[in-house]
Symmetry: D2
Subunit: 342 residues, 4 copies
């Protein structure tokens, strides 16, 4: 028997990716599709790649439109989720792709987002220790940010195995869809094609405290994070290069074993063979995380890299993965592990 | 009165960029153009953007063809420069865009290139302390690698001012022309468009010891370098994100002052206004280096970023800049500071 | 009960796309995977996006390796299919993604390919009049070329309805994967990014006679075709802009009606709403053809445009679609109509 | 002695390209820089590639700001030029990069732009027969559109030599900068990368009557034009593929001769060797037009292709070229013929 899902924010990139995945989901059927300024528009005009839904007309995002579904996915601008979620019944699974409920520390939220803290929901990264148990009974889920998904999964085993110092440097390149669909001058094709740029230096990007929160929980001690995001000329994909000082006694073999042990049973994480290098192209449209780690003895550092599709595992795929758990479905239901390449 | 330049390796990307710059150089005229496998071909077929040279036919790269010029630029595969240079008179200025003579340490060379060390020539990065004096009388110049140019200039002031620890993390994204023009499967357009990838992890890239050599000389103490190169979908450009632990007493103001002092008189380095973020698009075709530095107090690190065009300042522009010095010309002669955008 | 498919040429782009589709096909399981020079290699090294097949090792392409399957897909260089097919039993369905058996006219073949004509197989474009009947009993199928698929489906209704003169101009832009995976200098990322180029003028491209053959059959009279292919900087996609003089009495309404009638029942062709413009991005990874047609009264011409993914509907998707028919399966089995965007 | 130029609309792409060229112009110095909504902003924030002008602050676009210059370049939205030009003295050379004064036929203007016709100025395409004479004494110049520049120069010799029928089909691919810098959803990098799209069918694009006007004047009889523009994923460049029925008696040799004769003395037009194919990459940043023409005997058509940089020869370079003529300077002054590649 099928369940029904509503998607709020169906006209944006996260909403479009949710719909793409739900169209292939064998247990969830698509119910209400809502939007803000695009309410009243045929989906075919906004998301022409979703041919089976081309004639659906978007409704306005209201609690009434979203009521009566088993699961409601929110893909809204920051700050809009709390009021909506309060109007949805406590038995409805609400999965928020926005940032509002990700951070546990209200001070972090205030510092990076400048608005009052809405609260904290169970964090939808099943690969974190203990996360699956929490998600199984959750009715509210905060989907991780795209950079935190990649960076956390890159370095997690090195920290939990005690091989890395709690001082992590993350430099991550993202495709442009991570910046959303609202037209801004610096996101024009003319500006981004042919250019790589940093767009947040020295810990100013909002994903910084979220990465630190994840790594601190995993390591069991405060982890400092230096995070620099880069924009590169591709629509999708995140490549996160992370490093940390190796703790005494760390060897290449122990590092490899730590990653193998940590990710042996993970359905979406693929530790590359030794010597293999992650590329985002191998993850496009898939919920896959490609991971590689190596020890740089001369520099005394562990280097770990993860590649994901920012819209799939980094947003909508991660959302469906956590929703599957909370809905009692097999975690992998409806989630592709085959990418689109070249 | 003009001087004459020969370019060996005129069919590749570095050679093409040398010719593009020399076509606009008011004091140097273009003499012999040579190539390996492409000898006998009209340049118009290989470098159709160099319209004024379209009907020149490439000669084979031999000492005879290169003889009789004031300056010979070598843009050859690794390992070919030494034998050629030995046949060019000691008064001829020989500027090598390849790696053969960059490293001072024969062990480093052997470890990273696997062939006997050819020797060490004066290093053509005029912005390094003391470099201009050495270049003025040099008749042999080793042009820096593209990554080392960007990474060195990003962190140099932080190290020379004693604000950063000698433990530097470099993650740099490069356009594809840095990998040269020899056709390889992973460099096909179908492979690189839409993908970001790492292609050297944990200090295995050959530019690692060169970065360390530069920073060690600048800091006056051994600097450890963790270097990870990334390939991103653009033809040109390097964006190097570097960081190092801040030493005690470092403040944002002192950091800013160190960069302002170090680069105040540099004709090609532009320290961005505070809050500005480097983008490679602003450097395309120009000999410009865009630099920004910031202090991340929470992470305890200095973050410094440099953007360059890998073929201009990163190769051919750097070569012409050093050649200008060695030829007694004003250093900026013929070198564009205006880029091509969008 | 499942059927088994072999894929010969699994290391190229067409082979990879066949495998991507077959991984999602509910009635066909994947049997032998073979290659030429890449035999012996793990598929994970060559097609890292096909994670479920990462550990499969490619066999050499031999009749023995391909024997014993219900269907054999050939994705080989021109000229290799005939000998292989002759060694596969007459009851095995052989679907050739190459050009060898597409042309009915041996003179055309000789003129454009310069080798002896191998023969003619039933042509795998089910949307052509009468094609489905022929494919139902076929055991040998020639998959259309990517340009012919797009161009034929763009203008077909205008010709069959007698609205267009038999004098068609086709200008079509293709992504780079259409040129295959063999590394060639002009296909390097550095060359193709930032550039649009023609690469066949005045009817010299090999797909010219194939387009003419299709349109001539559809129109029932000889159709002249002027075809110009362009290479544009994207990995996938073909956008074919076609036009022909409008015959007397043609109106916008009659033109629209002709397209609606022709494509009303087609599962993979989507005639855009009036005023809508096809974009290849909406077809990526899908077997979809986006079509639009309009009458230019001032110029006296019908203009018709089709957008496809060259590897899906243009190659592997078309192959699976025809194979479904020949295997007695529903034509749409396993073929996505949802694309990957952005 | 130098002349002074003002640029109105210095914050857009056309304005930026004008400034890039003027920075390299030996006889014109840069005076006032004005903008609309961006008045008051440092140019370094808007055009970071123009390093030598980084600290200039944009003024508001007013007649007073533009007064007192030898030449005023207007790079403004449609409809704003007439009022400004009326306030600039009749001896000031005013060069309008906008469309307002290009069309001779008020009905065409009204039909395609929907506003009253502002008038007609001498048309700044020096390569048209008789144009240089008219431009020499002009004080008002209408710079051609980018598509009309490419399409006109592609087919001009075939028409003036009487080899082609007056029935021309133009399909042209453009980079995204042709659509300007105002942020619109369909111009986002996420939308344009990886996609080719048509964006005007059946003669609806505003450049259609301008192409027809040029070709009609050249042919001396009414020329019908079918024009389809395509957007492809690159920042710059136009590739125009044009064709027309060959008139009786046309041979490949006569066609070649017609192009050689027509363009032998043209400083910016390069007829490619026979068999060569134009690519936009060879024109980037240069005022070059690459042209090729061939006879398709089977189709009975002449096919002619031109590649340009839409911002250089297609806009700002064309503007400077015509201004040079009107200012009594050598036509090629300050205009690059060397492109930036790869």
């Amino acid at each position: 028997m099928g369940m029904r899902a509503a998607v709020a924010g169906a006209s944006g990139y996260a909403g479009g990716e949710l719909l793409r995945l739900l169209l292939g989901h064998p247990r969830i059927e698509i119910g209400a599709l809502t939007a803000g300024g695009n309410a009243g528009t045929r989906l075919g005009e906004l998301q022409p790649h979703l041919a089976p839904l081309a004639d659906r007309v978007l409704e306005a995002t209201t609690p009434d439109a979203l009521a009566g579904h088993d699961v409601v996915f929110l893909a809204l601008p920051h700050g809009q989720s709390a009021a909506l979620a309060a109007r949805l019944g406590p038995d409805t699974l609400v999965v928020d792709c926005g940032a509002d409920f990700r951070l546990a520390d209200a001070g972090d939220w205030q510092r990076f987002y400048g608005t009052p803290h809405a609260g904290t929901w169970p964090y939808g990264l099943p690969e974190l220790p203990g996360a699956r148990e929490r998600l199984r009974t959750a009715r509210r889920i905060a989907v991780p940010g795209c950079y935190p998904t990649a960076a956390t999964l890159a370095v997690l085993p090195a920290l939990t195995a005690g091989l890395a110092e709690a001082d992590v440097v993350v430099v991550a390149a993202s495709g442009t869809s991570g910046a959303g669909r609202a037209p801004k001058p610096h996101l024009l094709g003319s500006e981004v094609m042919g250019s790589a740029s940093v767009y947040g230096m020295a810990g100013t990007h909002r994903h910084t405290p979220e990465i630190a929160q994840n790594l601190t929980a995993a390591a069991g001690r405060p982890v400092r994070v230096s995070f620099t995001p880069m924009l590169v000329p591709m629509p999708r994909g995140i490549l996160a290069t992370c490093s940390a000082p190796a703790r005494p006694g760390t060897t290449a073999a122990r590092l490899r074993a730590a990653y193998q042990d940590a990710y042996a049973g993970e359905p979406f994480i693929r530790l590359l063979p030794e010597g293999g290098w992650p590329a985002t192209s191998a993850t496009l449209g898939a919920n896959t995380v490609l991971v590689q780690a190596a020890l740089d003895e001369a520099a005394g550092r562990i280097v770990a890299v993860a590649a994901i599709d920012n819209l799939t595992k980094g947003t909508a795929g991660g959302a469906v993965q956590s929703a599957n758990i909370a809905l009692g479905l097999p975690e992998t239901t409806g989630l592709p592990t085959t990418g689109l390449a070249p």
